[in-house]
Symmetry: C2
Subunit: 315 residues, 2 copies
C-alpha cells in the first residue's frame, strides 16, 4: 500500500479546519482573543508501551497524553498532527490503532489535520494545538505559600499495573484489569482544566510521578511543599496484597497518572469541592505550598523518605 | 543526564512566544487576519538519512524539510516543536544536531517552542507552524489548463548523490561534494513562496520527485500536464559521466529536491522572470497544464517513458 493510500484509509476523517489533510500544510483559524497552546509528545514501542499492547490502547493513549497537556494548561484541545513510523503496513494493527486514536479525538473534539507516515521502528509523534483565552492559561509558576495542593482522580494505578506486568507485584486478576485500564485508557481532565481558569494558581498533568512533577511547580514558583501521605487518593485493592513501600513508590514516584495536580488559594476550597461534584471528578486536597524550599511528605508525624523521584529517560 | 537537563543544554534558545519551552504547552499568538499553517515531517535514521551522516546536516535538514512545507503554502514559518527519540545521550551528536537545527531556525525566523525527548531508535519528528494572510495560501487545487508550470532551482542533485552513495553512479569528487550539499543542506524557498501569493495558481514543494509531486497538483486540480525535458534545469556536471537514463531518473523521479513547483497563468511570465532576478533564485518554465488528464514528458518530438514515479514508503 502506498503512503497516500495508507493515510487515506486509516487517518482521514472530517476535520474542523479551513484545509485538512492532503496539502503541504493544513490551515486553521485561531479565535480572536485566544492564545494558541502548542505541545508535543512522542510514544515509542518498548519505551512507552509494550510492543504487544492492544493497538486500540496505543492509539487512545498516544493521543490522550497530548490532550492531557491541553487540560493542564486550561486549554481546549482543537487540532493535532500525527507523525508515525511503522515497521510495516499491518492492517489489523493500523485499524485498531486508528480506531483508538479517533475514539480519543472524537471524545475531546480534536481534529486530526495532518502529519507524516514513514517506515521505521514504531514511533508515534503527536503534536497538539489548543485555544485558551488570552492570559488565562494555567502555568506552573504561580503557586503561592499557603496555597492548597490538589490532585484529581486516584494516583498510582498505572504504576502498580506496570509492576505487575514486570512480574514484581502479584495482583488479583480483576484488580489487575482495573489498573490496566488506568494505564491504557487514561482520561484527560479537559473539563477540569477549563474550569480551573481563574482558580488554580499553578497546574500540570502528572506523567512522571507526583513528586517529580510537583517539583516542577515548586521550582517554577520558587516555593516548597508539604504533602499528607494519608490524604493522597490511592488505589483501593481488596483482593491483592501490596506492601507499604510498593504503594508509596507507585503513588509518589510512579508515572502515567495523567491526573491534574494544581495549587489554589484556600479561599477556593468550597468552590473546588462543588466543582468535583459537578464534573464527577474526585478532587482531593493533599498538601500545602510553603515559603521554605523543599518537598516533604508526612504520614501523621512521620516524614517519609524516598530514593527516586520519578521517571527520567536519560537518568 | 536527565531529560530536562538535556533539553536545557541542547534545545533551549530564546523564542518569539508568550510562553516557550518548560510548561505543559507553549503559548503563542497568531496575528489577526492570518491563518495558521500546520505541517509535520518525521525523519528516521536508515530511512531518511544514513546513520553516519554529519549530525549538523541531520539537524539542518530535519528542520529545513518542515520549513519547506511552509514555503510551499506561501506561509511565513514561525514556531516549531521537536520530538526526538535517541538511542543514547551522545554529546558530540547532540551538539552537532542542535547546531544544525538552530542554524536553520535562525535563518528562517523560526522559534523552537517545545517538544519531547525520549529514548528509542533515532527518530526526529518536527511540527511547524506558520502564518499566512487569510485566503492567500498556495494550495494544490488551483491549476488551470493553459497555466505554465515552473520550478525553482535545479532538480535531481540530491537524487544523483544518493545513487553515488549507493555505489550505483561514479562521480568526480568535487561534483559529488557539490551534490551532497544539495542532499544535506536544502534551502527552503520561503521568500519565493511568500512572493508567489496572488501569482501561483497551485504550488507544492518537491520531496518525492517531480513527476510524483506534480501528479498531486494534477489530481487536486483535475487537469493534466506536458513537460519539456529539455527545459527542466538539470545538474551540470563537467567531470562525471552520467547516462541519460540515470539523469532522467534523478531529475524526474528522484526525491529530496525541496524546490518549489508551481503553476501560474502565462500573463505572469515577465513578473516571474523579474522575481527570479530579484530573489536570486532560478525560476524555469518547464511545461504547461492541459485540460486532458495525464502527465507526459517530451524531449522535442519524443515522448519519454518511465516506470516509477517517485519515492513511496510503503510501495
Amino acid at each position: 500500500m502506498a503512503e497516500f493510500a495508507l493515510i487515506e484509509k486509516y487517518f482521514t476523517r472530517p476535520t474542523q479546519a479551513d484545509l485538512g489533510v492532503g496539502d503541504d500544510a493544513a490551515l486553521v483559524r485561531v479565535r480572536p482573543g485566544y492564545q494558541l497552546a502548542v505541545s508535543a509528545d512522542m510514544s515509542v514501542a518498548g519505551t512507552h508501551f509494550f510492543a504487544d499492547i492492544d493497538p486500540f490502547a496505543v492509539g487512545w493513549k498516544s493521543m490522550a497524553v497530548n490532550v492531557s497537556d491541553m487540560a493542564a494548561m486550561g486549554a481546549e484541545p482543537k487540532w493535532a498532527t500525527l507523525s508515525i513510523a511503522l515497521p510495516e503496513a499491518n492492517d489489523a494493527w493500523l485499524t485498531g490503532f486508528s480506531q483508538g486514536l479517533f475514539a480519543c479525538t472524537e471524545q475531546f473534539g480534536v481534529s486530526l489535520i495532518g502529519g507524516d507516515t514513514t517506515r521505521g521502528p514504531l514511533n508515534i509523534a503527536i503534536n497538539i494545538l489548543g485555544e485558551v483565552p488570552q492570559g488565562q492559561a494555567l502555568q506552573r509558576n504561580g503557586a503561592q505559600p499557603g496555597d492548597d495542593i490538589w490532585v484529581s482522580g486516584v494516583l498510582g494505578k498505572a504504576a502498580l499495573w506496570l509492576q505487575y506486568r514486570l512480574g514484581k507485584q502479584d495482583l488479583h486478576e480483576m484488580e489487575a484489569s482495573m489498573l490496566a485500564k488506568a494505564m491504557h485508557h487514561p482520561q484527560p481532565r479537559v473539563a477540569l482544566g477549563v474550569a480551573l481558569r481563574g482558580i488554580a494558581s499553578a497546574a500540570l498533568d502528572l506523567s512522571d510521578g507526583l513528586l517529580a512533577d510537583l517539583s516542577h511547580i515548586l521550582e517554577a514558583s520558587k516555593v516548597g511543599a508539604t504533602l499528607d501521605w494519608l490524604a493522597i487518593p490511592k488505589p483501593q485493592l481488596q483482593h491483592s496484597r501490596v506492601s507499604a513501600s510498593m504503594m508509596q513508590g507507585a503513588v509518589l514516584t510512579g508515572g502515567d497518572d495523567y491526573e491534574l495536580c494544581f495549587t489554589a488559594s484556600p479561599k477556593h476550597y468550597a468552590q473546588l469541592v462543588a466543582l468535583s461534584v459537578q464534573l464527577d471528578v474526585p478532587l482531593t486536597r493533599i498538601g500545602q505550598i510553603t515559603a521554605a524550599a523543599g518537598l516533604h511528605v508526612f504520614a501523621g508525624q512521620n516524614r517519609l523518605e524516598w530514593s527516586n523521584k520519578g521517571y527520567t529517560h536519560f537518568g
